[in-house]
């Protein structure tokens, strides 16, 4: 019974829209980046992406730089609570305990953590501890400190272990943040290693998503998704296009 409800929830998830828009998903060995100013909702999106995988019984690793573990745990609890509020999903919280068994949080302090060390620990978790994650989300990596070569290491690693890796990138420079094609200036150097870039922007009272790099395509596209300001879930944007 719960299985069908779960299946339906997975099927109806707005994340299916996201996947459809990016040629069926990020894909193994690929790197995706959610880019925006601080405080727009990148972490919420990453956690929603992770929660969606967990619902599908797919293990994930949540890598975080400098955020406290208990804060991250709270994020998941909140997101699951919101998902559970959807009709018919009352039992979601009963299975919450089961779901989070498939999640490992790995926390690194930025100053001390070199990419090699982070990847070594990730490999230990996946290979030695036999935690067969296929998705890794990386929150809070400072793109102004790390360079394209760090992302290249992540990409090689993802390719070797068959992972898809989602990053958040905080855009910190002065306006304008984006060029004519909607590509963040700060990520220009990364275009060669990053497969998918999605930018999050305030548009009036809501946050909307645009796809600025989709694997080989560099044509900006409105994803017709928004971040629900009360639930912090990714949701369908039913309004007419405002652009």
């Amino acid at each position: 019974m719960t299985l069908t409800v779960k299946e339906e929830l997975i099927k109806r998830s707005p994340l299916r829209i996201l996947e459809k828009s990016i040629s069926g998903g990020l894909g193994k060995g690929n790197i995706g980046v959610l880019a925006s100013r601080k405080g727009v909702g990148k972490t919420a999106c990453l956690v929603h992406i992770a929660a969606d995988k967990l619902l599908q019984d797919k293990p994930i690793i949540h890598v975080s730089y400098a955020s406290r573990v208990d804060h991250i745990i709270t994020w998941y609890e909140d997101i699951f609570k919101e998902i559970a509020k959807k009709p018919k999903m009352k039992s979601a919280l009963d299975t919450f305990d089961e779901l989070i068994r498939k999640r490992v949080i790995m926390n690194f302090k930025q100053d001390g953590a070199r990419t090699e060390q982070v990847l070594r620990s990730l490999e230990a978790m996946i290979v030695h501890a036999n935690f067969r994650a296929e998705t890794v989300i990386v929150d809070g990596l400072d793109f102004t400190q790390a360079g394209p070569e760090d992302l290249r290491k992540f990409k090689d690693f993802a390719g070797r272990l068959g992972l898809e890796v989602w990053f958040s990138a905080s855009l910190k420079k002065d306006d304008p943040l984006f060029d004519g094609q909607g590509i963040p200036f700060e990520l220009k150097d990364y275009l060669g290693v990053v497969d998918v870039i999605i930018s999050l922007q305030h548009h009036g009272d809501h946050v909307h998503f645009s796809l600025v790099k989709d694997h080989d395509r560099l044509t900006p596209k409105d994803l017709r998704l928004k971040l629900d300001p009360t639930t912090l879930l990714i949701a369908k944007d039913v309004r007419a296009r405002v652009r």
Binding site: V69, I73, I105, M106, F108, S121, M125, A129, N130
Partner: protein, 696 residues
């Protein structure tokens, strides 16, 4: 001796294992002139630190039971309880916290906030205990008190403020700057007993000024008067101290002190801080449960002329006979007073009344509310409340966790058997988390406790203190059984074999209960089961649930709903309905899809980052779930949930894997379902055991 309650402090010293709290206590005793010589924990002189009064503690270099001791400093009377650091013994820590008014949280300047620090912090929070922090071991390589202060703020979420800055660090650590008086303090003499006050060294002046700013900023939040004074540029020592004190007592501020107990530096200022900033007993509200008023709470008064309320929080069997440590919450205690133990109703007469130092004592005539003293020759269990006749109060029951591990023990000979019985009797009285019973099936003596080390220590103590040699079996975890499905029952108990018969019929259902062990709900209408037999039914269910049919462990998580039934005017009886309940349960238990549950522990492993990978592997080999790993430069910490049955011998595995550089702590988290292949194994073992017994 001062009896003024404002000049009294009851403090605990809490810390992660190996943060040096016993060393610290030793220095405190020395500077307060309670001892004349300092002994180290693992002393070369073979004497050992004064607070670790048991041989065993000396040998292992850890503190097991908390001895309490009284010292005097700056005309104040301070009772100190040295609390054990190992998680297996948290009942001792928790009991101490119940009794204390405030604490010093000791942290290592290298290790900082460690897993146990977090546990202790949680306990301080639970009992609302105000505290100050002391960052110890500033002489050690890698010492960084500033980072540790940050950790107290970030990891524990406290408003932590440095009250001192060190002069030099590691081997160059020489003294400290007091940010309230803005003076440099040095500790001269062979044991650091002479405090030399000087001007702040020029090279530290800027840093000290900056840290003082920070301190005043944080502290002035707790006093408008101070805030004003700062704005006018004249904050006085007195104003600053009063504001810090207010912040501490309200648990809104944690002043941080630094030093090195081992190098005899920074202890006297810490004692001053206890006097300045920690609350006296009258500033802490204590409540008791009124047993005559259906458990209503009552606030106690610190009035020494009020009727007496006191709590026995620790028993000790020492060289001088049985000693009962007691905290007075209200009224006073005089030699010859008559008191009532409100648990047993027994009356006692106060005989010898003493104030305790770690191994010696001073006889006193009386003690007032707020004080901690010891009584001789009183028969009671720890946790008992004593009141003046006419009062029937109980101090709030201290939370006692259920034991999670058991071990069969067998005395080697008849003499050992007698001594073992004596030892067990004593231990169970001292420590409510340590239990013992005789298994009716195997006839073996079983001891139960909170972990492997917990039981190990008691086995050792039996040998040493009671000369009772015992053989031990394999440790056994405390499994539980639980139903996972709703099931109806309709059962008739009938017996007619001459004489009066037995008849009872009950109808209802069993439901899984997510939280809690057991619930009973009576929904019988129309008196189909006479009211007087409802408790009989409940009694029957309770009895049968003590032993599940899968592997013989208690059944938990069951809600029994009784909906209907039938009695017989002559043959129905209490026993008939009890039998019916038991029969009903047995009949439908299998249909309720019973499962085996096992204790799952919250495990924290800390050590150098290079071993993190190996630690991950050990957790996954043990059916564990890694919750998180945190890497902070060279230091890492892994938090995981692991079944207790897989944790036996883990300390040895970890030690050899990491060359002793990593350590772990664990505590009970929850009961979790056993995977099917293990459930099968357990059921088989149970069957085999039964078969063997029936062949005997």
């Amino acid at each position: 001796m001062s009896t003024d309650i404002a000049r009294m402090r009851n403090i605990g010293i809490s810390a992660h294992i190996d943060s040096g709290k016993t060393t610290l206590t030793e220095r405190v005793l020395f500077y307060c002139k309670k001892i004349h010589k300092i002994h180290e924990v693992k002393g070369k002189d073979g004497v050992g630190a004064t607070m670790d009064s048991m041989d065993l503690e000396r040998e292992r270099g850890i503190t097991i039971t908390s001895a309490t001791t009284n010292v005097e400093w700056a005309d104040h009377s301070i009772n100190i309880i040295d609390t054990p650091g190992h998680v297996d013994f948290t009942i001792e820590v928790e009991r101490s916290l119940r009794v204390l008014d405030s604490a010093i949280l000791v942290l290592c300047s290298v290790g900082g906030v460690q897993s146990q620090t977090i546990t202790v912090d949680r306990q301080l929070r639970r009992y609302n205990v105000p505290f100050i922090a002391f960052i110890n071991k500033l002489d050690r390589v890698g010492a960084n008190p500033f980072k540790v202060r940050e950790q107290i703020a970030d990891k524990l979420g406290h408003n932590a403020v440095l009250m001192q800055v060190p002069i030099g660090l590691e081997s160059a650590f020489r003294g400290l700057v007091d940010l309230v008086t803005m003076k440099a303090l040095y500790f001269d003499g062979p044991e650091g007993e002479d405090v030399r006050v000087e001007e702040i060294p020029a090279e530290l002046a800027a840093e000290a000024a900056e840290k003082r700013e920070e301190m005043l900023d944080a502290v002035s939040m707790h006093s408008d008067v101070l805030m004003e004074a700062i704005l006018e540029g004249r904050p006085t020592e007195g104003l600053v101290r009063a504001a810090v004190r207010r912040g501490v007592v309200a648990r809104k501020l944690v002043p941080v002190f630094v030093g090195s107990a081992y190098r005899n530096k920074g202890i006297q200022p810490l004692l001053d801080a206890v006097v300045h900033y920690l609350p006296n007993p009258s500033e802490v509200e204590n409540r008791a449960i009124d047993l005559d008023q259906d458990g209503a709470e009552r606030v106690l008064t610190d009035d020494t002329s009020a009727k007496t309320v006191a709590l026995a929080f620790k028993l000790e069997d020492g060289a001088y006979g049985q000693l009962t440590y007691i905290r007075i919450y209200q009224g006073s205690l005089r030699k010859g007073d008559e008191l009532v133990n409100t648990r047993s109703g027994q009356r006692i007469k106060v005989g010898r009344l003493v104030r305790m130092h770690a191994d010696t004592m001073a006889e006193i005539q009386e003690a007032g509310s707020g004080d901690i003293v010891a009584l001789f020759g009183v028969e009671c269990a720890s946790g008992d409340t004593f009141c003046s006749p006419g009062l029937n109060l109980a101090m709030t029951a201290t939370y006692v966790p259920e034991p999670v591990i058991s071990l069969a023990i067998e005395p080697v000979d008849k003499n050992a058997a007698d001594r073992m019985a004596k030892a067990l009797h004593r231990f169970t009285k001292e420590d409510p988390t340590f239990r013992t019973h005789v298994d009716p099936e195997s006839n073996q003596t079983i001891i139960q406790g909170m972990g492997e080390l917990h039981l190990d220590i008691y086995i050792e103590r039996m040998k040493r203190e009671y000369r009772a040699e015992v053989k031990t079996g394999m440790p056994q975890v405390a499994y539980r059984e639980a139903i996972s499905q709703k099931v109806d029952f309709d059962y008739t108990h009938k017996k007619q074999t001459g004489g009066s018969g037995q008849y009872a019929r009950i109808i209802g259902r069993l439901e899984p209960l997510a939280k809690g062990a057991y619930e009973f709900s009576n929904e019988v209408k129309g008196g189909h089961i006479p009211r007087e037999f409802i408790p009989s039914c409940e009694k029957g269910f309770k009895a049968v649930m003590k032993k599940g049919q899968l592997i013989g462990f208690p059944v938990i998580g069951v809600r029994v709903v009784l909906t209907d039934g039938q009695d017989h005017p002559v043959d129905s009886s209490d026993i008939a309905f009890q039998m019916a309940a038991q029969g009903a349960f047995r009949q439908v238990y299998a249909m309720a899809k019973p499962q085996i549950l096992e204790p799952v522990m919250k495990v924290s492993v800390e050590g150098p980052t290079e071993f993190a990978g190996s630690v991950f592997a050990t957790i996954s080999q043990r059916r564990g779930t890694i919750v998180s790993s945190v890497e902070d430069g060279t230091f890492s910490r892994v938090d995981a949930e692991v079944p207790l049955s897989e944790m036996f011998g883990y300390s040895m595995v970890l030690r050899s894997l990491t060359q002793g550089k990593a350590e772990f702590t664990m505590e009970f988290l929850k009961y979790g379902r056993v995977p099917p292949y293990i459930a099968e194994l357990l059921t088989e073992q149970r069957l085999e055991k039964k078969k063997k017994e029936s062949q005997k």
